[in-house]
C-alpha cells in the first residue's frame, strides 16, 4: 500500500476498502485471543481446513479471526456477521455444520446461547442478556475486526478521528473537546484527561513524550488486554490524537510481557500504520510527526505506577519517586511526559469523531462515558462488560452477569483490585462512578470486579490481597515495605486461628498509617481491601479472632470435616480420595474422619456423592 499524503488520500483508501467484494460476504468471526484458553485454536484450524477444502465457499462466506467478544464464560465464541448470530462453546467438530447452515441461511440451534430465565435459545448476539444490557463504545470494534488487519479498522471509522483532528482542529481545540467530553483516566485515579494533556502541553520544552500504560497488573482486571488484543489501532489512533494535542513526537506503549498476543497485535498495528504513513514523519501530509515503540514490562506490578514505569523504560529498577516534579514537568529522560491508560486512549477517537457531547451524554454528572469492567469470581456470566457510568452493581452482577451460580447469596463485590475495596450487598443499587465508589470505601481502579458469595471468607480475601501487595511492594519506602508485612503477619495469624484480641484495631491503625505515609499509589491504596472488609464485615474478623471460627468455612485451620452417619452410604469414594488416610471404614461400614490425621484438603467433601461430608 502507498503512503497516505493527505486526509483525502485516507478517505479515498477507505472508500476503496469498503468497496472490496469480501466486505459484502457473510463473515464467520471467531474470537481467537482470550478464547484460546477455551480451545479456539482447534476451531480456527477446522475453519481454515474447511475453507481450504471447499474453494467454492469463498464466493459467499469468509472466515475472520477477531479479538475478544467479551462473553468469556461461553467461549469459544463464533459470531456470524452481518446477521449477528452468536454461537457459544463452539468445538472444531461443529465447524462443518456451522458452515453448511450459514450457506443455507439457517441457524444451528444447538449451539445458541440458552437464556436461563426463559430456557429458550437466543439467536442474535444483541438479544443475549449479557450483551443486551451493555453499551459498547470502547469495545465497538472488538469481535468485529481482525486485530491484525489495518484494512478492517479502516473499513469502519478507523483513523477518522486522527484525520479530523489534523485537518480541522488546532491542538487546543482537541484538548478543549476532550475536556468537554468529561473523560477521566481509566487507569484508576480518574484524573481528567483533558486537563492532564493541557498541563503537559503547557510545560516548556521541545521534546515531549507520550506513554500508553498497558502494564495491566491488577489481579482480576483484563480489559486493557481485551482492547490491545482486539482493537490495537484504536489505541494507536487515540495516542496519535493525544500526541498531536500535547505536542509529542515520540511515544511508547509499555505493555506487560505476560500479554504476548497483545504485544504481537500492537507490533503488527504499528508496522501497518507506519507503512501507510499514519505513524512516522509528516502524518497525512501535515507537519505532525509521531514515532511509536513498544517497551515490554519485565514482571513488576509497581511499574503500573507512572514514575516507576518511566524508570523502567529508562532501564532502571522500577521504583517510584517523589512528586513533584510531576511527569508532565519532568518525566521520561527528564522531559515533559504524559501517561494515559489503554482504555483512556481508546475512548479518544470516538470523542473526536462523534463529538464531546455524545460521550458526555453517557454517564453521571462527574463521570462521563462508559467503563469496562472485568467481571469474574462467583458470577454466572464472566467476561468483559462495558456499561455507561452510573449503572448499578445490580445491573452488572445480575442483569449482565446473570447472578450467582447455584443460587447462592451475593455477599460483596471486590472492586478495583488490590487497591480497591469491597462493596457489600446493601449498595447493590448504588450508581457506580468514580466518586460514589470512593464514598463507600472502594475505588473504580482499573475496573476489576470480583463477585464473592457467602462461601468466600472476607478475612482470607483481604489476606490474599495483602499478600499480593506485600510481595509486589518495591521496598523503597518504610510504611509500605514494613507496614504491609506487619499487616500480612496479623492477617495470616487471624486466618490460622491465632488471632489476638486487639488485632483488628491494630490492623486499622497500621492500615491508616500505610495509607498516609507511603510514597506511591501502591502503598497509599494497599490497605484498602483490609480496611473495607473490616468496615463491612467486622463480625467475620471477630469470629476468627474470638471464636476461632471461619463463618464461610474457608480458612483451613478453622474448619473440621465430619461424616454424617445418617447420610453415609459407605461407598468408599471419600476414603479413596483422601490423601492422608484419614478416612476410616470400608465398604458397607459407615465412614468416619480421623481428626488427627485430617489435613482439611476437602477432597472427601468433593468426592462424596450424597453430600454426607459436613464442614463446620
Amino acid at each position: 500500500m502507498e503512503r497516505l499524503r493527505s486526509a483525502a488520500d485516507l478517505a479515498a483508501l477507505k472508500a476503496r476498502i469498503r468497496q472490496q467484494p469480501r466486505r459484502r460476504l457473510t463473515t464467520l468471526c471467531l474470537c481467537d485471543t482470550g478464547c484460546r484458553a477455551l480451545g479456539s485454536v482447534p476451531v480456527r484450524e477446522a475453519l481454515l481446513k474447511e475453507f481450504a477444502a471447499r474453494p467454492e465457499l469463498a464466493a459467499t462466506l469468509r472466515f475472520q479471526r477477531t479479538g475478544c467478544h467479551g462473553f468469556c464464560e461461553a467461549g469459544p465464541l463464533l459470531a456470524v456477521r452481518p446477521q449477528g448470530i452468536l454461537y457459544v462453546r463452539v468445538k472444531a467438530e461443529d465447524v462443518p455444520e456451522i458452515v453448511q447452515a450459514t450457506l443455507k441461511g439457517e441457524v444451528v440451534d444447538r449451539l445458541l446461547y440458552v437464556d436461563p430465565a426463559t430456557k429458550q435459545p437466543v439467536r442474535l448476539e444483541r438479544d443475549v442478556p449479557f450483551y443486551r444490557n451493555q453499551t459498547r463504545l470502547v469495545f465497538r470494534h472488538c469481535g468485529q475486526v481482525d486485530p491484525e488487519s489495518i484494512e478492517d479498522y479502516l473499513a469502519l471509522d478507523g483513523y477518522e478521528g486522527l484525520a479530523k483532528a489534523l485537518a480541522e482542529m488546532t491542538p487546543d481545540q482537541v484538548i478543549a473537546e476532550v475536556t468537554a467530553s468529561g473523560l477521566r483516566g481509566r487507569g484508576g485515579a480518574g484524573f481528567p484527561t483533558g486537563r492532564k494533556w493541557q498541563l503537559c502541553r503547557a510545560s516548556a520544552g521541545d521534546t515531549k513524550y507520550l506513554i500508553c500504560n498497558a502494564d495491566e497488573g491488577d489481579p482480576g482486571a483484563f480489559m486493557d488486554r481485551g482492547v490491545c488484543e482486539g482493537d490495537p489501532h484504536a489505541i494507536l489512533e487515540g495516542m496519535l490524537v493525544g500526541a498531536y494535542a500535547i505536542g509529542c513526537n515520540h511515544g511508547y506503549i509499555y505493555c506487560r510481557a505476560e500479554y504476548p498476543i497483545a504485544i504481537q497485535h500492537l507490533t503488527t498495528a504499528i508496522a501497518d500504520a507506519e507503512a501507510l504513513g499514519l505513524l512516522g514523519d509528516n502524518i497525512l501530509g501535515s507537519h505532525f510527526s509521531f514515532h511509536l515503540k513498544i517497551k515490554q514490562g519485565a514482571g513488576a506490578f509497581v511499574c503500573g505506577e507512572e514514575t516507576a514505569l518511566i524508570a523502567s523504560i529508562e532501564g532502571r529498577r522500577g521504583m517510584p519517586r517523589t512528586r513533584p516534579p510531576f511527569p508532565a514537568q519532568a518525566g521520561l529522560f527528564g522531559k515533559p511526559t504524559n501517561i494515559n491508560n489503554v482504555e483512556t486512549f481508546a475512548c479518544v477517537p470516538p470523542i473526536i469523531t462523534q463529538g464531546a457531547s455524545h460521550f458526555a451524554s453517557m454517564g453521571t454528572e462527574r463521570s462521563k462515558g462508559t467503563k469496562i469492567f472485568a467481571l469474574a469470581g462467583k458470577v454466572k456470566n464472566t467476561g468483559l462488560v462495558e456499561i455507561p457510568m452510573g449503572a448499578t452493581l445490580r445491573q452488572i452482577v445480575f442483569d449482565i452477569g446473570g447472578g450467582i451460580p447455584k443460587d447462592r447469596q451475593f455477599k460483596a463485590a471486590q472492586m478495583g483490585g488490590p487497591s480497591g475495596g469491597c462493596v457489600p450487598a446493601q449498595y447493590l443499587d448504588l450508581p457506580i462512578d468514580y466518586d460514589s465508589l470512593q464514598e463507600v470505601g472502594a475505588i473504580m481502579g482499573s475496573g476489576g470486579l470480583i463477585v464473592v458469595d457467602e462461601d468466600t471468607c472476607m478475612v482470607e480475601l483481604a489476606r490474599y490481597f495483602l499478600d499480593f501487595v506485600q510481595s509486589e511492594s518495591c521496598g523503597k519506602c518504610v510504611p509500605c515495605r514494613v507496614g504491609t508485612r506487619r499487616m500480612l503477619e496479623i492477617l495470616t495469624r487471624i486466618t490460622k486461628g491465632q488471632g489476638k484480641e486487639g488485632d483488628v484495631d491494630l490492623l486499622e491503625e497500621i492500615g491508616r498509617t500505610v495509607k498516609v505515609g507511603s510514597l506511591c499509589g501502591l502503598g497509599q491504596t494497599a490497605p484498602n481491601p483490609v480496611l473495607s472488609t473490616i468496615r463491612y464485615f467486622r463480625n467475620e474478623y471477630e469470629a476468627h479472632v474470638r471464636d476461632k471460627r471461619c463463618p464461610a468455612r474457608v480458612c483451613r485451620d478453622l474448619v473440621t470435616y465430619r461424616i454424617d452417619p445418617e447420610k453415609c452410604i459407605a461407598c468408599g469414594k471419600c476414603k479413596k480420595a483422601c490423601p492422608a488416610e484419614a478416612v476410616e471404614g470400608e465398604r458397607k461400614v459407615k465412614h468416619r474422619i480421623l481428626q488427627d490425621k485430617c489435613v482439611r484438603c476437602g477432597a472427601c467433601f468433593e468426592a462424596c456423592p450424597v453430600d454426607a461430608v459436613l464442614v463446620a
Binding site: D218, E258, Q296, G315, A376
Partner: protein, 165 residues
C-alpha cells in the same frame, strides 16, 4: 563471550534504556542470565555490573539459574483463588516434588505461581509455556502434567516409543 549474547548485543544500542530489552533477549536466547553474561552486558553498556544485576534482580521475569524445559505457571489471581487454585497448586507441588520457583532435577518443569494471567473468567487457570488450561480441577491439572511427561519420554532418543523407528 557467549556467542548468543554477541548476536543479541549486535541488535541493540548502548544506551542505558537498552538494558532491559537486552536482558530480555539474552534470556530468551540463553534460557537464563548467567553471571558472566550480565558482566558482558555491563561492559557493553558501560555501566557497573551492580547496575545490571540490580535491574535484573528487581524484575520477576529474570532468572539466574537454568530453567526447566516447560514452565508451569499456576495463577493465584483473585478469581482463581476463589475458584480453587490452591488445590491445583497443591497437586502440582506434590506431583512434581518442587516448591514455587524450583525446577525438577530432570530440567523438564519449572514451577511458578503468577499473580494473574489475565483470563479470570476461565479460573482457575494454569499455563504450561504459552498454553492456557482453564476451568481446571486438580485431576485435569494432573492429566496435563502427565501428557507433558509422556511427550518428553517419547522424544527421548532411548525412549520406549522411539525404539521402533
Amino acid at each position: 563471550m557467549h556467542p548468543a549474547l554477541m548476536e543479541v548485543l549486535a541488535r541493540h544500542g548502548t544506551d542505558r534504556s537498552d538494558l532491559i530489552p537486552i536482558l530480555q533477549d539474552a534470556q530468551a536466547a540463553i534460557g537464563y542470565l548467567p553471571k558472566d553474561v550480565m558482566a558482558d552486558i555491563a561492559r557493553h553498556l558501560n555501566v557497573p555490573e551492580a547496575a545490571v544485576f540490580g535491574v535484573a534482580s528487581f524484575y520477576a521475569q529474570f532468572y539466574f539459574e537454568a530453567q526447566g524445559k516447560h514452565r508451569v505457571r499456576v495463577c493465584r489471581g483473585t478469581a482463581c483463588h476463589v475458584r480453587g487454585s490452591a488445590q491445583v497448586r497443591r497437586l502440582i507441588e506434590s506431583k512434581l516434588k518442587v516448591k514455587e520457583g524450583q525446577t525438577t532435577p530432570d530440567l523438564l518443569f519449572t514451577y511458578e505461581t503468577v499473580a494473574c494471567v489475565g483470563c479470570c473468567a476461565l479460573s482457575p487457570v494454569m499455563m504450561v509455556d504459552d498454553k492456557y488450561f482453564g476451568r481446571l480441577t486438580p485431576e485435569q491439572a494432573d492429566a496435563v502434567i502427565d501428557d507433558y511427561m509422556r511427550q518428553a519420554r517419547a522424544e527421548e532418543p532411548n525412549g520406549t516409543t522411539a525404539l521402533g523407528r
